[in-house]
Amino acid sequence: MEYQSKLETVLRGIALLLVVVFFMFPIFWIFLMSLQTNETILRVPPSINFEPTLSNYRALITGKLETSAASLEINFLRNLWNSVFLSVASVALALLLGVPAAYAFARHKFKGSEDIAFTLLSFRFAPPLLVLLPLSLYFQKMGLADTYLGLIWVYQLICLPLILWIVRGYFEDISPDIEYAYRVAGHSWFSTFRKIALPLAGPGIAAAGLLAFIFAWNNFIFALVLASADKQPVTVGALAFITASGIQYGQIAAAIVMSIAPTLALALYAQKYLVEGLSLGAVKG
């Protein structure tokens, strides 16, 4: 351990605190908002003195949105479930397809391999709207519009390139000689892939999966165009909070808190795994 003076320790603490405040304050404020009514939220000047209420959460869970003008039906829990299902299924499919593909691109240089890999990445270049309008016509013809299958398929545009390119880099970092050593010791290439390459690239696969999950979770435009209300994720469902009698900030805040929760839980879980994987041993050299 490096020697540190007291002053350095204090300064370091202050710097860390500033960073934490900077990043955490909006989330903290949203959490406070979720416990307030619209009236206390919109007070000028804002204050942290208020009577906490769980009415926003109650409204989301019961599906009844009480505004000053009327009582509206919302389907937030359904949206939340859709988000979880679409993101998990999309990432799972992308991992299933992307990881073996990434291994192939990393280990085998075949004719056109770079072109194929680049084409897959280029899916991310096109503005989504440009792709979506013709795609929605095709989907309607094919019966894929407003289906989970169709959405998961389109979500591959987000997840697959991400996983492919990140995981490929991890595979390339593993010395091929480790795999050769395993192969001369009497194992087929497939068992080498499973027993050596996959575990060694584990942290990379986890990181790529997590990133893909976050991107899929935050996607808005695909589901807005291609899905109807009962298949839409929270990102689209949040539009329901913009009502005739104003924007329901309290419920939006509560919805944000509830929709952050799954991603946060996954990130915390994966973080533990990432650290574990990395400390298993250096791969290079």
Binding site: S175, P176, D177, I178, Y180, A181, Y182, R183, V184, A185, G186, H187, S188, W189, I196, P199, L200, L280, G281, A282, V283, G285
Partner: protein
């Protein structure tokens, strides 16, 4: 030869294609006997590692045939070749301890746990890594990882053991100690091994025969002694031996009873015609221009010799290396006593005909070694 174990026949390795193609190994043919230790010796890029990887099955064979224990290897997957390999980059499995790394390859064999443990501990003891058996590769030094990787290869009962620069990361003292032990282990267990190295001392100490490679070609495949005494060409002559062989270009003249080699700056080496066989003199005269090679330790001082001026003199603890200028060229002498010469001193030396190697200046092929014609 009936006892050929590894048979490499006219093998080529070409990487890439078209303009970017790299021809790494060219028409390589060599036969290794069972129980023999062979070194592939050469500088970087000479094709030695490519050869090893073709034998192991990590690179395809572009042309030719490789046979091991009577089986053709060309289209066999690495798993079916029954070869063991120690990698230059160690390539230990990070999630396994050193012990498990070494034992790993044995688990596929029919040995029971006790036999595996005893084999691992035998190899670990030989390589002096017993104390790190319980640790993970990431927590031990490069030299220790390298010995573990070597142990993982040696512990196996394979048809052929391929060792790619197996001691490159070890400190010199340990290297010297392990050379003897490894050779003993290989011979004791009747293993056949191919060692890739650019370290001559290692190749000399370990090998029964050394294959010298350069530019993708096999230059010579002989015992260490024969390589030194009878280099097949100028490359082998200058590459093998430390410090390297001194070489001088010369034109050959003959009088009635003497042979003269004219060097640059009017320096002339004159010998009795009887010092060389007539075949040697004829061969040298027919070429007119030759290259004279003489080993540093074969240059002797004599009061009536030719004059050379000393440039530097290093005492290495057991021998003196004297660098001097002769006929406008550098020449190195090795003497076992501490030489008193300083830079600028003049010394008088002679090149005994018995210690002279003659090479064709154009092709580099050896003409003669001492008085006799090269084969």
């Amino acid at each position: 030869m009936s006892d050929v174990h590894l048979d490499i026949q006219q093998v080529d390795k070409i990487y890439g294609s078209g303009d970017a193609a790299v021809h790494a190994v060219k028409g390589l043919s060599m036969a290794v006997r069972k129980g023999e230790i062979t070194s592939l010796l050469g500088s970087s890029g000479c094709g030695k590692t490519s050869t090893l990887r073709m034998i192991a099955g990590f690179e395809s064979v572009s042309k030719g045939i490789i046979k091991l224990a009577g089986r053709e290897l060309n289209n066999l997957a690495p798993v079916k070749r029954n070869v063991a390999m120690a990698f230059e980059g160690y390539s230990l499995y990070p999630p396994l301890t050193i012990n498990d790394n070494i034992a790993f390859a044995l688990k596929a064999s029919k040995l029971n746990t006790k036999e595996i443990a005893s084999k691992v501990s035998e190899v670990a003891e030989m390589l002096e890594i017993t104390d790190i058996l319980g640790r993970y590769p990431s927590s031990v030094s490069g030299g220790q990882q390298q010995r573990a990787s070597l142990g993982r290869a040696l512990v196996r009962d394979a048809d052929l053991h391929l060792l790619d620069e197996p001691m490159g990361q070890l400190e010199p003292q340990l290297r010297a100690l392990l050379r003897g032990r490894i050779k003993h282990y290989i011979k004791e267990n009747g293993l056949t091994a191919i060692l890739v190295t650019h370290d001559q001392a290692e190749a000399n100490a370990l090998s029964d025969r050394i294959a010298v490679m350069e530019g993708g070609y096999l230059q010579q495949f002989e015992s260490p002694q024969k390589l030194k005494d009878h280099p097949a060409n100028l490359f082998t002559g200058t590459f093998v031996g430390e410090p390297p062989m001194n070489v001088f270009e010369a034109s050959v003249e003959r009088d009635s009873n003497s042979v003269r080699f004219e060097l640059d700056n009017d320096v002339c080496l004159t010998y009795d015609a009887a010092d060389f066989s007539t075949n040697v003199i004829q061969a040298a005269l027919s070429l007119k221009h030759v290259v004279i090679g003489v080993r540093p330790y074969a240059i002797k001082r004599t009061s009536n010799g030719i004059k050379a001026s000393v440039v530097a003199n290093h005492w290495l603890g057991d021998q003196s290396h004297i660098a001097a200028t002769l006929a406008g060229q550098s020449v190195i002498l090795v003497e076992h006593d501490r030489a008193p010469d300083k830079s600028g001193d003049e010394i008088y030396i002679k090149l005994d005909p018995d210690n002279i190697h003659l090479f064709d200046r154009e092709s580099g092929a050896a003409i003669s070694h001492g008085a006799e014609l090269a084969q």
